[in-house]
Symmetry: C2
Subunit: 406 residues, 2 copies
Amino acid sequence: MSDKIELTEAEAGGRRTRGEGRGAAARRASRTGGGAGPSLPFITRKIKEYEVLDEEGLQLIENNADLILEEIGIEFREDPEALELWRKAGADVRGERVHFPKGLCREILKTAPSSFTWHARNPERNVTIGGKATVFAPVYGPPFVRDLEGVRRYATIEDFRNFVKLAYLAPSVHSSGGTVCEPVDVPVNKRHLDMIYSHIKYSDKPFMGSVTAPERAEDTIAMAKLVFGDNFVENNCVTLNLINANSPMVFDETMVGALKVYARHNQACVISPFILSGAMSPVTVAGTLTQILAEVLAGAAFTQLIRPGAPVLFGTFAASISMQSGAPTFGSPEPSLVSYGAAQLARRLGLPFRTGGSLCGSKVPDAQAAHESANTINMTLLAGTNFVLHAAGWLEGGSSPPMKSS
Amino acid sequence: MSDKIELTEAEAGGRRTRGEGRGAAARRASRTGGGAGPSLPFITRKIKEYEVLDEEGLQLIENNADLILEEIGIEFREDPEALELWRKAGADVRGERVHFPKGLCREILKTAPSSFTWHARNPERNVTIGGKATVFAPVYGPPFVRDLEGVRRYATIEDFRNFVKLAYLAPSVHSSGGTVCEPVDVPVNKRHLDMIYSHIKYSDKPFMGSVTAPERAEDTIAMAKLVFGDNFVENNCVTLNLINANSPMVFDETMVGALKVYARHNQACVISPFILSGAMSPVTVAGTLTQILAEVLAGAAFTQLIRPGAPVLFGTFAASISMQSGAPTFGSPEPSLVSYGAAQLARRLGLPFRTGGSLCGSKVPDAQAAHESANTINMTLLAGTNFVLHAAGWLEGGSSPPMKSS
């Protein structure tokens, strides 16, 4: 498989040196990346956002999120520094659980930018995160791949490189992403180095950092500094970093540790409650939205305690589960309603918003996969999402990216 | 194929006589129509409509439609009565082309109801057309079927009966539709009789009338009267009837003739410009919307000249064509924008709205079919559509309904 799509760096990224003319040769050159600009600019939306909640509903959810933050609180696990920072900021810390006086998180979040530039090594590939901009990135996290022969197997670093190359060549994909697959043939303790190196070597689009341990976040920063320069990294966003809440109501030491490294270096954190409604949150749309808002408020505000002004996104990963089997489902109406509502809450907070993608539960790239993916990406665009992970498709609820649809 | 899904009337429509309990037997009974209520009620939307046009855009399109109606006019072909009615109503008739003074059509349309009941033989299956109601009907018009073995062939009356039975059994399909396929094994001059008879015999959901000639519309009314009663038909809507404009800017004698029959008997007309943007209208969304509004204003107002108060829908069938091959395309962004805008124009006119369905260009029920269908049905629902033809899917741009997806 890898042979078929193996490309030299020059072929993939070379500036237009041939095929300048019109006709088949030029089209072929454009298709194979020989053209001057294989990448389309990020989307600037000119259509309205679709909104499901009215003012009364929004205020009810916001008030209830404040109530949850104050009365139930959020755990910041095994991180004394985080607890000390919250104590100093005026929160009521009991054990590892932080209780937030009403309005505290919102007040702290006033220093977070509503829009910022995510820098690529090639400045022509810089993207805006926030406002009317929508940026597509490929799938994040699958341990498996389904190759061109349809065989499902564990992913390798060779697959990882190929997915980075594919993201680089795909005109509508604006970032090479992060963990485009989990290269299980490389030991965990140095896997992140190969992954970041692949993003730097095989693409000049913006990329995401490693979040699996604080020291791996530090390594990401160090590698970014090699290509962007020390001073540039400290003053600009060159990595977007996925910080999942351990819903319900917990940020663990890994996520808090990575968050602290990235925020300290002015890199963007995407605070994303990972929710399968009915399993990690109430089964209702309103209940899920309330929990999401509480978790994001705590996590996003924490970035500002580390470094006021550090870029941070309101993230949402919302799916539902089959109440019969417990299996996650995708492309169904409830998660769409959750995401539409979360987008509204994010806009009211003044934070860029991440959700959606082309999500499905199907095991193969079939009609079910296409229908569910279309349902999700339609919602993602109409919600006014700023950063879209998994935009190029996935299979099996995110267990594997299809070579074909990526 | 027909053997496999052949059902007796008792099996299909019988009231619950067995399988009352829980468990597998009850679920099987429910699936096979043995349950008490195989049909779900029509949808009452609780979510907002998605709107693409602001007040300025809407007014611009409305003003330009008025300009088109006045300066270019609309042809009513080979129908002296229609021309005479327009002359009396104050229009400027030149040959077969009717020019409408500004505001005339809107003024005439004030007698049209914004919402009405479409009666089924079984009153429990009555549906509301208009307001927050959304009603699903199956595909309309395909000359071919693709059977369960995947074989594509001309449709027969046996297929027609089976599609009516399927629509009757499908819980989310609220009408058995109209020309669910074109039964080409029955001579054209009496085909409509077999079609209407099938709708009456194999379903108790509301059905659509024949529009292929004025006398076939009369036959539809006569057959409806046999089951609903003379007086009931004259005072209630028991058929919805698809009146396509011959875009651009023409209503032909067949459509005008059928419209007159149905409006005279108080039956509902769905005035639907059939538009492939770039072929029958300007290629732009705004230009297409302007033409659609002009055509609907003329056709819908004409129903009120025939019988003030007769129910009429603002219909839109919008697709785009490939500018390379001329082939129709479905599930693409531009027709979605057209439909969103047309829905807004319909609400401002106070008329129920028809568009969309599960449309695709694919020849087989594959991933392309599913993706395009999902794009279309998402738009259809968010636009706030009242009556949805083709809701249960089609193939080949409407050339054949798939047995599987219907």
